[in-house]
Amino acid sequence: MTAATRSSAFLRGARNSAPFLLVLTPFAMLFGLVGTEAGLNIAQVLGFSVLVIAGASQLTALQLMVEEAPTVIVLVSALAVNLRMAMYSASLAPWLGGAPFWQRALAAYLLVDNSCAQSLAEYEARPSASMAERITYFFGSMCLIAPMWYAGTILGVLVGRDLPEGLALDIAMPITFLALVAPALRTLAHVAAALTACVLGLAFAGLPYNLGLLPAGLLAMAAGAEVERRGLARPLQIGRSS
């Protein structure tokens, strides 16, 4: 594979991740602000964002620490929020499993919602791409996101109090991630999985610490797989085929 192919994969990954900067930056700033107000110093707030690099779980840990929950509860709850990433890891394994150990280790560090969803869409659209091209695309998808996550955290510590009230992060975040899901709904099986996930996500929403996410996700995956197994996974005839 030529250097040109590889750099174009890297740039494509970066470009496709760009819309997420709009959401990630204020989210990172929010964490910086909340962390400071909870009494962490700037090194600790940044330590969270660099070492954990998972917003929802960072906020969960912080909230429980503020409530003076026992250490074990803080750790278990924050890690439970991240269990979905084991499913992401599994779905990337068929595509990236053949990469060298250090690349898989680095990819694991950079495995978040958007890098996973974005890369899987790319791999399914270009199944003939080489291993090097795939892993390069994956790193490209995080080359803006990860630095912006750290920088946004620091920014939140420094100027977070000046964040406008009407930022409406709790609409920007779900909309951006929905925008990631919608183009990936390529067949009836994908639709079945997504609808099952909505229903079960709502049904299990009352469980503490997002514990319902794992069973909801697994059952929704099973719904998609079952539709496909029965040969009902017709492609959706909507919009540009990709």
């Binding site: 819309p19 330590g47 560090y109 399914e124 779900p174 909309i175 929905l178 183009p183």
Partner: protein, 109 residues
């Protein structure tokens, strides 16, 4: 947050960092390039479309900033995002139309 020493805070950060990395590395690390059985692959094809909606649905139906009260503009915006995303297959257009819908509805009502 007075109950936490510096050491305890860094301990929690380190433990979360290591634990989260282990969760992320799990299958990438252990499965490597071994072939997975077809039925497993069939399930894994639906991971993003199965996990994200389960995560998002409660955030849209019971939003935090309204104190969990049902807020129709959010669902209209979400529906718009999905429809535009399906038709254009473009993340950018889907985000723009979803947020555009939400903020227009807020201005109008």
């Amino acid at each position: 947050m007075n109950g936490w020493s510096d050491l305890a805070i860094w301990g929690i950060i380190a433990a979360l960092g290591i634990g989260t990395w282990l969760i992320r590395f799990s299958f990438l690390g252990l499965v490597g390039d071994r072939d997975l059985p077809p039925w497993v692959l069939r399930h894994l094809r639906y991971t993003p479309v199965a996990v994200l909606p389960a995560l998002l649905a409660p955030l849209l139906v019971w939003p935090e900033s309204t104190g969990g009260t049902f807020d129709p503009p959010r669902l209209v915006a979400a529906a718009m995002t999905v429809v535009v995303g399906l038709y254009t297959r473009s993340i950018l257009w889907a985000v723009a139309s979803g947020l555009g819908t939400f903020f227009s509805l807020q201005v109008l009502f």
